[in-house]
Symmetry: D2
Subunit: 265 residues, 4 copies
Amino acid sequence: MRLFAGCDLTLEASEPCPTVAMLRPRSGLAQWLASESYQFDPPVRPTEYVDTYGNLCQRFEIAPGPMRIRWSAIVETDEFIAVEPNAPATPVSDMPSDVLQFLLQSRYCPSDKMSEQAQQIAGHLPAGYAQVEAIRAWVHQHIAYRYGVSEATTDAMDTLEAGAGVCRDFSHIGISFCRALHIPARMVVGYLYQLDPMDLHAWFEAYIDGRWYTFDATQDQPRGGRIVVAYGRDAADVAFISNYAGLSTKSLTAWVQLDNGQPLF
Amino acid sequence: MRLFAGCDLTLEASEPCPTVAMLRPRSGLAQWLASESYQFDPPVRPTEYVDTYGNLCQRFEIAPGPMRIRWSAIVETDEFIAVEPNAPATPVSDMPSDVLQFLLQSRYCPSDKMSEQAQQIAGHLPAGYAQVEAIRAWVHQHIAYRYGVSEATTDAMDTLEAGAGVCRDFSHIGISFCRALHIPARMVVGYLYQLDPMDLHAWFEAYIDGRWYTFDATQDQPRGGRIVVAYGRDAADVAFISNYAGLSTKSLTAWVQLDNGQPLF
Amino acid sequence: MRLFAGCDLTLEASEPCPTVAMLRPRSGLAQWLASESYQFDPPVRPTEYVDTYGNLCQRFEIAPGPMRIRWSAIVETDEFIAVEPNAPATPVSDMPSDVLQFLLQSRYCPSDKMSEQAQQIAGHLPAGYAQVEAIRAWVHQHIAYRYGVSEATTDAMDTLEAGAGVCRDFSHIGISFCRALHIPARMVVGYLYQLDPMDLHAWFEAYIDGRWYTFDATQDQPRGGRIVVAYGRDAADVAFISNYAGLSTKSLTAWVQLDNGQPLF
Amino acid sequence: MRLFAGCDLTLEASEPCPTVAMLRPRSGLAQWLASESYQFDPPVRPTEYVDTYGNLCQRFEIAPGPMRIRWSAIVETDEFIAVEPNAPATPVSDMPSDVLQFLLQSRYCPSDKMSEQAQQIAGHLPAGYAQVEAIRAWVHQHIAYRYGVSEATTDAMDTLEAGAGVCRDFSHIGISFCRALHIPARMVVGYLYQLDPMDLHAWFEAYIDGRWYTFDATQDQPRGGRIVVAYGRDAADVAFISNYAGLSTKSLTAWVQLDNGQPLF
């Protein structure tokens, strides 16, 4: 399907502020950017680098005062995500080397503390997709979606205790439980068509039967229409904006629409 | 400066044709893509990978029949290129490891056969920028710019013998002489503002005094307004289109204009 | 200086156990391995990959029963580490892109929770080396070196509360405080000559004035004679042995000696 | 099988000479270095980097005068190489992205000039292993193994014309013909057990049916006992010693023996 997605945000710096943005998706196996616009007002000339996860990162400095950033694109992506209830776990010995890092505990996913509960939720199921789906469903049922409960320092254990959080927190729990069962799992941030209310979004992927599958504990059922902006071990790796001096967000609007199918050329 | 550049090409496949395109520049230190469009007709969903030089490569298969590809972008780039007549050569011992590969001979740059002539042209000059500029000027003066003399298999030695060639051939000679003097040099393909006649272009860069400098043996004087699409050891690495079955180019138009400065949002 | 270092460990697997070892240092800027031996009994044929930090990782499966691993090498390394009390902090804008990841919070270094205390300890000092040294000295003075206080899940906040830990815990606090001040810091595991009692060791490095400096909060004063085995964001990244099934350590001996200077050939 | 292999070479520099050595194999899928020694006399402290092919490269400067380098290792490697006469070609569309570079023409493998002859030799055979084996056999039959015919600048076309060459030249022809048929092929340098006369050796690999297969046009039949030191597009990428000032080789001895099976510890 062909989506027109974007975000428009206004930041305000209180002092010169070195900033790293992760707002630009990459064309890859999962999606194709047919057209894209990425504008700054006042204008800056960002540099761009690729981080260790393959994400595109834009570096620039924001001068004191407001900075408006507007990114948008027309993106070809899949209308449906793959669902394979019987897909078996990939044995650790068969995992590609670059997948192994997603077995490790991380800042917001202290999987080393969460083995027992992971076993309770999914230990009795066939190793693989069925376990991850059970984890996803458990999070969907047991954690309430509510703004204002979690903050920047909230990890998966904190959210379990609070019993509520947002997409980021849902993902952290799902990832942690997967890793506790030796299933590689990674954080994804991006856009989801028909997300309600519309916002930048987060979900997770698990490595099963030799490939990555998409899981989203905030949703009732499997849904495609996703645009991936960045992958990481958890939210620490994939902040949309990382700032290294005083910076505040004044406004943020995100959108995802079906593209209206204008002529190509 | 802000340029609107692009190309529109029509290919024709005689059979299903696996294809790799290098048509999309990267936002990096040298340039920033403010907006971009990359369309295929009939539509395909390319995948994209990064090659060992950091270039973006789009893979897709062309079905038998015509395929139109149109890429365009608004790009912020430098109006002037750096010129440092006294910049000294970087000693090999001080070169970053990833620069060393650009000292090696390659398909179209058999620098291992060209040391003697490189010495004659530039051996008497201070090691560094002055040598590369002397090489660039020598090529500009001694090689005629003429279409139809060279073909896909023509290397720098062939062009020296023929005494004529196009931008790609000029670059190959320049690169070869630099490497023969232990100055790293790499091929660049991309766009040049006010190139006459307008076309996709090629030039080279040399690593001097700790950074890359731009040289273009097809031009009278240093000129900015360049958009880099890809880097490589020589033309073998940076073909705009690499095809692995029967494919012919029916038409190709390229353009570079000053952006008309529409409102950002 | 020329050191003969190594370790001899015996593991015992209760079931077939996929394992990743990080026991092999890399020859790099800091050290040179003149000779090396890496043996397994019973024999296995590990494969080796390089992780995203550049560490060498050996993958293999341990059959049920005991596995003895013995690694040793003669390593050229520096007798002294660099000490530059006046080295200024590198502005974030000037940091190389691959250094930025070491500003991020991580599993055992929740620097996002530790800004206030970092400011109290070092906020009044000139930004840079002086701050990191103040942090190092603070940890050395306020945290007791004691085995058995910390365990695998202990993070820097836990150790601050406990007031005691081992080299790994000392490093986590130092790293966290540095990052809280926007100074990149990374975990190092390896060997230290004349460490008492001898063991595998851990310390940290901070990126200051364009390079990495070594800090070790377990020591009274700056000491060289270090062999780096692996770098990471924290202990989650650099476990000597990562196992993905039941595995226990039966014995571990480590040693570092001055090499006796036998004839080279 | 377990081999003890090594080389002992003496170089002589006429001036300070920046040098890159590729003498150290990597432990990987194909082989495991159980022990290794790498010594320089007079002593130097090389740094080491990994090139774009994954090869380990040692950088150092040789002072005027002699330099003796001795590398040796005990290496676990395969006694037999895989032979699959019916393995089908991998379609270009299914090749991993990092394999595509080995389809490109290169300095000593001008495959763009050699399509016609490649078709004559193997075009009538089923695409895949059978074609590469036909190429390998053709080279073995039509090119005489003779020292002194080729030199540093000799490419595959030159060797075809001369009708004679050494292992490096045999490999270049084999690689070129494979690429001309859209079969990825790469140069390998290393050691071969029972090579006669013993020397450093070169052969090639072709990517068929999703993996790399070993081919050696200098041999009568498939033979294992190989230690891979480096991979590249051709000899330009994998010189054992690359020097950037006056340097000559005074002596070189290489050896490969069955390891005598001493106790491991």
